[in-house]
Subunit: 330 residues, 2 copies
Amino acid sequence: MDGGMTKVTSSDVAKRAGVSQSAVSRVFSGASASKATQDKVRAAAAELGYRPNVLARSLITGRSRISGLVVAYLENPFYPDALERMSKALQARGYHTLIFMASWTSDVDRVLEELLDYQVDGIIAASVALSDGLMDRCRAAEIPIVLFNRGQEEGGLTQVTCANHAAGVGGADHLAAGGHRRFGHIAGWDGSMTGRDRAAGFAEGRARHGQSAVTRPGDYDREKAASAALTLVDEHGVDALFVGNDHMAFSVIDVLRHQRGMALGRDVSVVGFDDVPMAAWPSYDLTTWRQPSGQMVAAAVERMMALIDGEASPQRVEIEGRLIQRGSSR
Amino acid sequence: MDGGMTKVTSSDVAKRAGVSQSAVSRVFSGASASKATQDKVRAAAAELGYRPNVLARSLITGRSRISGLVVAYLENPFYPDALERMSKALQARGYHTLIFMASWTSDVDRVLEELLDYQVDGIIAASVALSDGLMDRCRAAEIPIVLFNRGQEEGGLTQVTCANHAAGVGGADHLAAGGHRRFGHIAGWDGSMTGRDRAAGFAEGRARHGQSAVTRPGDYDREKAASAALTLVDEHGVDALFVGNDHMAFSVIDVLRHQRGMALGRDVSVVGFDDVPMAAWPSYDLTTWRQPSGQMVAAAVERMMALIDGEASPQRVEIEGRLIQRGSSR
């Protein structure tokens, strides 16, 4: 793992980039450097597989014992909870966690690029997708990455998710058992495999029960989900809603109850996804598909450690969830 | 700032502790070492003001450009939100954030002890209190600390809070204006100055209005707050509740509405503290004292930077909040 790093020096990068060695230092120390210089230096470093020695390696183990954790979408309480579990699980293994925040639709590449400068031993990326270029960069640097609660078809990355397709089927089964006439789905973000799998599972499930369904995008956003719910109820007569996550489902319940005067579990059934703590609070009392967050975190940490130790090849881990029935559905 | 570090070496620590130099390395690299060895080495290191060079300093600036952020109590949505803002504000200044999770009533010292090994340039501690011993340790290591949303009488630390006493007065003024007969307060954690200031302000405010009040501890915990609310309503006839934070107030609303059938804003008024996003959701519609989270984060980051630059002495920053009236109070 150290091969590339001990051979390639900042002086090699400077020569390749056609800049001074101090310019290379400036770029990687975060000091001021022109955009053009930064681009040249980063391109040369990437070509040569160079990572700056910002962190001294641990004296005995030869590792930084720091893991990078990229998170986004903290307004969904699923993630603060997972973050806390992950940080504790890593602490228990003697690892510290350098946490980087990214907006979940943008700037992930820039954030991860910076993480590479810190010589983390591994990265867990929660709720964000990685570009092909960036995956290549991490592979060249031999830094293992584990995707958490996010899948990606390309790149052969290790990923840990809930069994999302089965969950979609289970949601449809539950709504069918409630005797509903018209199904609707408020989908997660179309760019996420997680969201697509849940939607595909739900479609398969409701088809098995001979039901049609109308789908509207929610994009994991409260406002979009509320507006989708009104459209589905008002224009399509939907009385059974499967919502891509709890965070959207709370917004759906609020708008149906307070703007349409509907009684949850009677006039309309709403099923969420995640089982965040708030789902059990009496004001929402949300039927939802529980993601086994503790098991998913344990698997992600365990996979990352195995990859760091060179004992594993990339794999996809799917963990079964289960329906938690509460008052928002009949 | 480098004086102590360049002079004291791991060999000095080994001599003082009466152990081998490799034992010192093992302790600070997180490799296995007996409890006795760890204690001896850490004690010797503390006496000598030694910090291991786990992170190489940035080549040009002479700084690690890493700030430590200690957080606890992430189940209160005030903190994930503040964490995200803080991380972005620090990123914007070229800093990365090594985030450590601590349980807010324990293990803070241990966590901060580890942080010191990482040679962070500064520390922001949100929602946690520091022991005297640890404050001395940080002072010896010349690592500035800023307390966020938490005050501490001792230690002369820089701290950034909302104007909590004035907020308590404001809460009492609002409930008095609603014509309530009997006031109650569900207090935060008694060990926090933040909680004590809110309670003292509320006591002063209700006394001004010639009101008595009953106070019960909530300890920032949902279960305790719910049980306190039932006691206050059932046994003390309270019809106006000032609750130490929103996270507890949601639980209070749930229990009064669903277990006592009370109508919020009519049978009983509830006022929270923080104005987390959920307070505006129709199912809670919580009147609350808004903490200016964005301004508090900006002040904490700005103060830490000034301390790192050696341009400031410790100070207490209090930022005014304001009442946001919604449907949970009349």
